[in-house]
């Protein structure tokens, strides 16, 4: 097979994967010490840690692909918001517990399918990282799916909050399926998101039904821009908190 993927396209793609993991991991970590009860506080922190570890591996690979001498730490802590390539869904603030869980469920359903495919990537390092991440994401998916059912099919208040969260977050789900560069798919590096979409729809519909929640219409307005560095007002504030320490002490090491 003739490889047409440019080094730049590959770097941008891995950066996107790393940024999704980093931004979602950070948002989940904001629950540390603020969870509704101890076991769930620990659960969210654990899931955040899995994501940060995945981001570490992915951004390390991105740095190597870029060949500009940037390490995973440079990429995580020294880029401004316009240079980030995460999906908008993940930079939304943590909201209430129902909002966090709904976002986690929508993303984990997507990540589960994406990483299932990435395990077979033609880029061997990416495939290895993905094989590891996939196993962790299964636990995230189980956790968030079960919570959706508890919340949706729970009390009147938990149902209301879960439905409101789903209604608010739905407009950010379309961006998850914006296709990567066609060469990445043709060269077997990235899975075809179009093929994953029906499976995501089915998984999400199934859990929503069990949770007695209504999915917004399929043709709803969908936000876009994150994959091109056009982010919401929320990302800048998040990065300010996330990056303040290394930016205050440039070059410092543990």
């Amino acid at each position: 097979m003739v490889e047409t993927t440019t080094q730049t396209a590959l770097f941008e793609y891995v950066l996107q994967l790393g940024d999704d993991a980093l931004v979602h991991g950070h948002r989940l970590s904001e629950w540390c010490g603020h969870g509704p009860y101890l076991e769930e506080d620990i659960a969210l922190a654990n899931i955040a840690l899995d994501h940060i570890g995945q981001a570490n591996a992915l951004l390390h690979l991105a740095g190597e692909l870029e060949q500009a001498g940037r390490t995973e730490n440079d990429l995580a802590y020294l880029r401004d918001a316009t240079a980030f390539r995460n999906a908008l869904l993940l930079e939304m603030p943590r909201g209430d517990f129902g909002y966090t869980i709904t976002r986690q469920w929508l993303f984990a359903s997507y990540a589960f399918l994406l990483y299932e495919g990435l395990r077979h990537s033609a880029n061997k390092t990416l495939a290895g990282i993905a094989a590891k991440a996939y196993k962790e994401i299964r636990y995230h998916l189980r956790h968030s799916s079960e919570w959706m059912v508890r919340l949706g099919d729970g009390t009147a208040e938990s149902h209301r909050r879960a439905q409101e969260a789903l209604d608010a977050l739905w407009m950010y789900t379309g961006e998850l399926f914006e296709p990567p560069e066609s060469e990445l798919v043709a060269d077997g590096i990235a899975p075809d998101l179009g093929a994953l979409r029906p499976r995501w729809d089915e998984m999400v519909a199934h859990v929503a039904q069990r949770a007695t929640l209504l999915l917004p219409p399929a043709d709803s307005f969908m936000a876009t821009g994150g994959r091109n560095g056009r982010h919401s007002e929320h990302l800048g504030h998040m990065l300010a908190e996330m990056q303040i320490l290394p930016r205050s002490f440039p070059g410092a090491t543990w």
């Binding site: 076991e39 769930e40 620990i42 659960a43 922190a45 654990n46 899931i47 840690l49 899995d50 994501h51 940060i52 570890g53 995945q54 570490n56 591996a57 589960f112 061997k124 390092t125 290895g128 990282i129 094989a131 590891k132 991440a133 996939y134 196993k135 962790e136 299964r138 636990y139 998916l141 189980r142 956790h143 799916s145 079960e146 959706m148 059912v149 199934h206 859990v207 069990r210």
Partner: protein, 165 residues
């Protein structure tokens, strides 16, 4: 393996998991390869148990220290992802040690276990303290990335379980 690579593996058997000090990094399957580089440096390839496992930093330092104390000057530790770490790699001996330490060992991994919420039939784990199967899950995520939390209704003690992955 050459004679000296055997020596390295022997030294590495003294490097314990910082969170579960009854297990060493070799029997856990964390050490993947050991060989000598052309310049004489020892290269040890390790793989993370979980992507974000913070113990990996300590393990890396402990490996360097153990080999340095064993007389090797030039040591390189690399993190590799060729094969995703699995609890399937844990030896029977390692599982027995875990149980004796008070952590329920991982069962056999079923790749196709249903992810459908609340439909899973989890067979109750045996309590590592009293052996009872009258136990329940209190949290799928525990004190470390690799463990879940459980409670034994008979001896009334909480215990951890090393999750299958």
């Amino acid at each position: 393996m050459t004679g000296t690579e055997d020596q390295i593996m022997k030294l590495l058997r003294n490097v314990k998991d910082p969170e579960i000090p009854v297990l060493d990094v070799v029997e856990m399957g964390i050490v993947r390869h050991v060989h000598f580089e052309p310049d004489g440096a020892v290269r040890v390839d390790i793989t993370p148990t979980y992507s974000g496992c913070p113990a990996m930093h300590v393990i890396r330092e402990d490996i360097v220290r153990a080999l340095h104390d064993g007389g090797f000057e030039d040591i390189e530790v690399h993190t590799v992802f060729d094969e995703a770490w699995s609890t399937e790699w844990m030896t029977e001996e390692a599982r027995t040690k875990l149980s004796a330490y008070g952590i329920a060992p991982p069962g056999r991994l079923d790749e196709n276990d249903g992810l459908l919420p609340l439909l899973r039939e989890e067979s109750a784990l045996a309590c590592p303290f009293c052996g009872s199967n009258h136990t329940r899950l209190t949290s799928a995520f525990g004190a470390t990335a690799c463990k879940s939390l459980h409670f034994c209704e008979d001896c009334r003690q909480p215990f951890e379980h090393f999750k299958c992955i």
